[in-house]
Each structure stands twice: as C-alpha cells, then as structure tokens.
Point group: C2
C-alpha cells in the first residue's frame, strides 16, 4: 500500500475519530472512551501522515507524529490484544452463529465481506430454510456446505442446500465414510473469497472428525470450529463404533489445545446455553481434558450415556 | 501517548507480525493472509516510527513510512471496518452471550479485561448457578445485575445473584415499577471498569423498557442490547397492559434503528436460533418495522398471541 493510500486512509480515520469525539462529548462518559478521546484531543484534520516530506519543518513533523499517535488507537488496541482473552476476527469476515433447539447443534455462517463468498459449517436439514434466508438477506454466495464430521444426532443440511443451490458443494473428511462433493484431510484449505479454513484431523469421537481453524491477517489462529472433538467444558462421546478415547485425548491436546490460548473454540453443540470458549479456559477448566490420559479414558468408559434418538 | 511509547508498541507489533509470517509460511495459504503478508515482507525490525527525526535522510524516511504502512495492518483494517457490516468491540471488553432454552432468553456477560469488573444483562433465575460459574472461571468481579425491563416470561436472576454476591447491585429502569438497588433512565451510564453502557429509554413493549448501548474507543456504537424493543426480524409484543405499538415504533426507529447501520443488535430473546442482527439488516428486513407506523400498529393489533406461561 502506498504512503499516499495510507494518507487517504488516515484522513478518513481522523474524520471518523473527530466524529467520535463529537458524539462522545454529547453522551459518553466511560473511562475507556475518555482514554480514547484524550488521545485524540490534538488531532489536526488539515494534515495527515502522507504529507510528511523532506520539506516538512521539524515542528510540523513532530505534530504529524503526534497526530499519528492520536489516530492510532486501533494499532494500540491491536498491541493490547496481543495479551487479550481473544483476538479480533479478520476484518473482512462476516460471521453468524446459529442454533438448532432440537439437536442443540451450532451452525456457523462465514463469509468474505468483499467477495460475498460464504460457507456454512454443520448445517441442520430442518433449518436449511432459515439459513438460506439469512444467506439471501446478507447478499452472500454460498459456495460450500462444510461438515466437521458425520453426525449421529441430526441429519446434515448439505444435501438439501445442494438441491436449493446447485453451485454449492458439500465437504466432509475423507475418513468419515460419508458421501460429499469434496473430501478434505489434515493440512487442506477451504477457501472462500480471501479467507480460508485450515483442516486439522481430530478423530476420536468419530474416525472422520476434523477441526477447522480460521486465522487473522497476522496469521494467528482466532477461531477453531471443533465439531464434537471438544465441547465447552466437555467433549464428544467416544462410545460409538468409531470412538477412541485415547485418540481423542491426544488429538484435542496435540492439535486444538496447543493453539494460542486466545483462540476461541466454537463447538458443534452445547447443552448449557453457552456459545463460545477459549483454549485458555478449556486448559484450565475442562473437567475431563484437564485429567491425565489414563484418567480421561476411564471417565469416558464410565459415562454410560443413553443412545441418541437420531 | 508519547511517540516513544508508540515506538515500543510498533516494535512489538513488528515482532508479532513477523511471527505471524513464520506461522503463515508453514501452513496458511488463504488470500487474506497472503495479502497481509505481502504488506509485511519489507518490515525492518531494527527501526520503528519513533526514530523518525529532522536528521533522518529522505530515503530512510520513505523506508520508515513504508515500514509504517507494513506494520499498520490493523490500522488499515480499522479503516476498512469503517465501511464494514459491524465494528470490532472495545479492545478491553470480555463478552459472552448466554441462552436459556426454557424462556429463549439471552443473558449477556460483559467485563473490563483490565479491571475485571463485570455486569450481567438479563440474568435468568434458573441459570444463576451457570452464570456465576462462568464469572468465577473468568476471574471476574460481578458488580451489577442489569435488566432491560420487567420480564413477563421469566424471573430475573438479579435477586439470587445479590444473595450469592452481596456486593452485586441490581439495576432496572425507574419506569419499570420493579424493585432494584439502582434505577436508570435515558442518558444514564452504567460503568464497569473502563467501559460503560449508555441508557436509551425505549418503552412500548413495557413502560420501563430500555436499550443499553456500548461504544468502541472512537465513540462509535458497536452493540445495542435492545431487550424486547426490537428482536431479530421481530419486536416485543405490545398487547400487555403497558404495551403501546405507536410508542414502540417511534422509539425503535428514533433511538435504535437511528444508530449507525454497523451497530450489532443483541435482543433479550430469539426463537429462531439466531444470535445477532444489525441496524442495517433490521432497516431492510424486519417484517414489521419496515412498515409505516399505521401498518405496524395494525400488525401488532392483529397478532392475537397466546399469553405467556410465566
């Protein structure tokens, strides 16, 4: 990006921030906003950084640097976020978390704000109409129906989505044994617009379970869609035919809980009304996965869960 | 903030971004990250912007501006977000959306990352144990139990929260007729740490309905907690004693849908498995509130809804 381009951007920021101050002075009294505004008091909208040149007097230059400081709230926030609980999403991400009250399944809609290319993770057949309505409202182009695994508790919406949108392709792990247009495995990428999900193979609940990782512009993972591998303060059952507690433990610890502690974990299900957790939280508070591998295997053996209705 | 302070921050960003590139080169291939990395290829970690002075030769100065461009991904993203669907939350916000499967109520946990002061919006009595567990896990200090209005469909958790945490105060509108420690009205602030919610009086569903607005560091509204005033593609019923369709229409349009189109709207309820909407979306797609006031009043009169179980 040219410094001129940046200059234009800085001017826009300056105007926006000045507008922010105006609004602030009318109403907002919070410490955070006061802090932001105290950084902005000296912003001079008549100048922006791209005007800096060899001919700029030292005084103006220092004022321009002061302006740079003043207009850099978000750069500062970015640094503050380096130690935050979570990191911001990629700036071109459109994201929606959707829920099925029947099977307690989370479906995730992700899209590139610029290209409008969209994907649905773990759609539920009964809710395809709702999901397509939202896709249409947001003006998105759904290109993939992506599954984290072959679900025992609900029927995927992939097939119905493909019927309604012939250009939409279904995706699942090659190890799932399920039928799809595209099969993915460890290290693969699912690209939508200028965004992509990376595939981590995380079997243990089923043989074909995968986790999808979204990174921000700096390459740092920000969200992992974990399917049933790890749930909020829980994990997927391992007593089905393809279940393997030891394998689940190794994959969750080796691939998911080894992501940065700030990584948000968004599972395929929750039964407690929670919507998200983080690697840091599950490393501290997951009642099963904080145990040793041997203890974990014993816990999973002794769950004696009822079989799913569906 | 001093330019030296900024320099330190820039150096940290540079290191982080370089680390980002390293990770990126191992694994990530998405267009977005490629774009980010192409901006970063020329970053020189030995210099940062605060070293720029009257003695800096023009060539170095232009290289430093190039470095500034390269290390400013997030400032660029910030500018891109000016035209985005939604804006990032304040960087010091901890945020959780929680749900009650019985009354379809959303409870929101907000906290200041730095001070750990926290508030709960619309807690549900049956789920106080869950909410307190999360507050404890996140190491937060719950100072307020905040209600958007007096609910007909569930009992607030405020009382039980105050029993469990004697220092926690309950908050509701003075017009609600309900009992609380603190009564708020239009223009008031609910401060927690360095963050604050602003109160907008938005009656119509009940006389005491309020909307709470959270702004980011620039003073721009990013989230409005709308209670039952506006729901995702819907709105609260107006056939109870305190209901007034015309008043609801005027308040929703005059105070909520007049916020920036990027403002996320987070209601007290949803019955379709959706978690969030935006001002822009509801202005386009709300089946009731896109109508004229007269049409809206007629629609609300003819809903003939069953009375709530609770």
């Amino acid at each position: 990006m040219s410094s001129f381009g940046l200059g234009l951007r800085l001017s826009k920021v300056t105007v926006e921030l000045a507008a922010g101050i105006a609004r602030r002075n009318q109403t907002v009294k919070s410490g955070a906003v006061s802090l932001a505004c105290s950084r902005l008091q000296h912003v001079d909208q008549s100048q922006s950084l791209h005007t800096l040149s060899a001919h700029t007097p030292a005084r103006s230059r220092s004022r321009l640097l002061q302006e740079y400081n003043n207009t850099s709230c978000n750069l500062v926030n970015f640094v503050r976020n380096m130690s935050a609980e979570t990191l911001p999403d990629p700036s071109n991400l459109i994201f929606r978390q959707l829920f099925d009250y029947q099977s307690y399944t989370y479906t995730y809609l992700l899209a590139d704000k610029d290209t409008k290319d969209a994907i649905l993770i773990d759609p539920v057949i009964e809710l395809v109409k709702r999901d397509l309505h939202l896709v249409e409202d947001l003006g998105l182009n759904l290109i993939y129906a992506v599954n984290t695994h072959c679900h025992a508790d609900h029927i995927t919406g992939s097939g119905l989505l493909k019927e309604k949108l012939p250009n939409c392709k279904s995706i699942i792990s090659g190890n799932s044994g399920a039928k799809a247009d595209l099969y993915i495995d460890e290290g693969d990428q699912i690209k939508f617009g200028n965004l992509a999900l990376e595939v981590l193979s995380t079997p243990g609940h089923t043989s074909g379970c995968v986790t999808y990782v979204l990174r921000n512009e700096t390459g740092t993972p920000v969200i992992a869609f974990t399917g049933d591998a790890i749930l909020i303060r829980g994990c997927g059952r391992t007593d089905f035919q393809e279940g393997d507690s030891g394998m689940l433990y190794d994959n969750v610890h080796g691939k998911i809980l080894s992501l940065p502690p700030t990584t948000r974990l968004m599972p395929a299900h929750d039964y407690t009304g929670q919507t998200v957790t983080t690697v840091k939280e599950e490393l501290q508070f997951n009642p099963r996965l904080t145990k040793t591998k041997e203890e974990f295997i014993k816990i999973m053996q002794e769950l004696n869960l009822p079989y799913q209705k569906r």
